[in-house]
Symmetry: C2
Subunit: 365 residues, 2 copies
């Protein structure tokens, strides 16, 4: 019986084509591993704006709330750019999903694949074997704080305002995720903010320190100003194990860390909510890369990040660690064999399409 409810939201740009490869892996799991998912599909982002006039409609949101996990492709594109109405932007669909599902912890691994170590603009020595987990707060901070908006203040002047706000419990719950992850990894957490100029950052530092003392003193904790964090990531990335930071700093720093690996097309992410009475968390999984409108529909995109996001879903939402490992191993082997989509192409390798990459991974499985 298919009691594993999965909602597919392919979204815009290359979203649909990379998600197609996940469908194929799901079919394989059904046939070969005896694991059956109940998959439904919906629209989000620009695709939903075109169909319904809003980037996320109520029916789709209800589906998401009723699912064990959401698999998202990517949202956005020039077609829907710069409307003056914020609620009509593709991004608003993504932000609404995060907020309504309560997905406060965004897990973004920055991992360097051995086969791709030369793809980075950083020296191989600096990044070989890199394995950082960034935990970004995802439902608070300046992304959602009120008041916000643009107002006319006379004399041809306007004023744009956003509010950065965090509370004790918002900070504690995301820090807890970071500490728990660190215990299963290398037991070290770096917390990043600007406590030297922002009170919200000072509160962040104080609350993380308190939680650490109360419950996680076995984990090594260091505080770092976010600007210094941006530098230390470049100077000596291997000093980091788990990094926990707020929504906005997390947006910037995790993108920096992703690009450092040189393989953006390979990086998955998971966004998790609070555990319910049965320990189950709402969850959404998506590749770190965007919708890449320039190559959309041309069978050029790298499906690996999305497939690895699905592996994260298997691990975190469905307790299928073994299957997750099979997928991860298959991808590693295919890379080891020299297969490369355009984004990670290198001399001497075999360039392939999205579909052929999917073929190879399925063959490997």
């Amino acid at each position: 019986p298919a009691n594993k409810k999965l909602l597919f939201l392919p979204g815009d740009g290359i979203g649909p084509e990379v998600m197609r490869q996940v469908r194929r892996v799901i079919d394989w799991m059904d046939r070969k591993r005896g694991v059956t998912f109940d998959v439904s599909e919906g629209l989000v982002g620009g695709a939903a704006i075109d169909a319904y006039g809003v980037p996320l409609n109520d029916a789709t949101l209800a589906e998401a709330l009723a699912s064990d996990a959401v698999m998202l492709g990517a949202v956005g594109g020039p077609k829907w750019d710069n409307p003056t109405d914020y609620t009509k932007r593709p991004e608003a669909g993504l932000l609404a999903l995060r907020k309504e599902l309560g997905l406060f912890a965004n897990l973004r691994p920055a991992v360097v694949f051995d086969a791709l170590v030369d793809a980075s603009t950083l020296k191989a020595d600096v990044i070989r074997g890199l394995d950082i987990m960034i935990v970004r707060e995802l439902t608070g901070g300046v992304y959602f704080g009120e008041p916000r908006g643009i107002t006319d203040i006379g004399n041809g002047e306007r004023r744009g305002v956003n509010t950065q706000v965090y509370t004790t419990s918002e900070i504690r719950r995301v820090a807890r995720v970071a500490f728990e992850l660190a215990r299963k990894r290398n037991n070290k957490v770096h917390s990043m903010e600007k406590a030297n100029v922002m009170e919200s950052g000072l509160l962040w530092r104080q609350e993380v320190t308190k939680l650490h003392q109360e419950e996680y003193s076995d984990v090594t904790l260091e505080h770092m100003y976010a600007d210094n964090g941006a530098m230390q990531l470049l100077k000596n990335p291997k000093q980091f194990d788990v990094i926990v930071t707020d929504n906005l700093f997390g947006d910037i720093l995790s993108d920096e860390a992703s690009m450092m690996t040189g393989s953006l097309g390979m990086l998955p992410s998971a966004s998790l909510g609070a555990p319910d009475a049965n320990g189950k968390r709402k969850a959404m999984y998506e590749p770190v890369h965007g919708s890449a409108p320039d190559i959309a529909g041309r069978d050029l995109a790298n499906p690996c990040a999305t497939l690895l996001s699905f592996a994260m879903a298997l691990r975190y939402s469905f307790d299928l660690d073994e299957d997750a490992k099979l997928i991860e191993k298959a991808i590693q082997n295919v890379l080891g064999g020299g297969m490369r989509t355009a984004d990670i192409m290198a001399p001497g390798m075999a360039r392939c399409s999205t579909t052929v990459m999917g073929d190879s991974i399925l063959r490997e499985l």
Copy 2:
């Protein structure tokens, strides 16, 4: 007659020792170039907290306001860390100087010196010849926005708030600096914000676009989300000429760009106010690196960033472009000759102290 008023604020940590080398260059200018400065000196940061109980006292601020330029070393150190009172932090002195002098445009060049191309963790090909000018807004945004603070909200919960705010004129004046600089460089400006999630960023984008259309349509303008900016800096830094961004994004992105060059100890900065009736701007010059308490007082620090900041002062505040070039050239020659302070030491080079680096530069002059 010494009508060139210069205020020295050496500050904390390595500040005093790197500033001492500037004094020597000033003496040389007096003797050999017939240029005399009226130099006074004051305390800021931790040094001022120790002496006066505040990180910037009224007398020092008055001196700064009466000077043509301020030369700042660095502020901060563990001794003054984490007080609960924000107004008693070393950083508050720096922030007060910026705000009271109205230094809204922070110019931070990210330049790779040929002799130091291998010092970066990035591949030499990626950064050789790099020359980016980052213009960071410095008196607005979340650094100064109200309301701000930490409040008790009951049930053991606290709430930390900061406000990100920008007005039309704040955005226009800093964008204007960026466009003017671009015209003297490679005529390209990238403006960075998060217009896709923040209204203050949307206003930023709209106002920069408007000013560009009205007065600077000869300059190439591109908008980029700040997270993408953090990635593009790493992916292909040479695509950039001038980058203009807000206070907080500027803090992070300019530190990322600085560290990319591999020679933080070499990077100067200038902070400029609005031109007065005579076209003169209030100005402060300081190295990009911090106070480095770990090596303070040991004659190990690299004085080049501070000397290059002084060269910027000669150029922007005193119209002494020729003298600025002499200093820049002397530093390049000394590096070319193999002299290296510890921070930029490399195999086959001659390691030297702060003082010996100063000696060599003076000999070169």
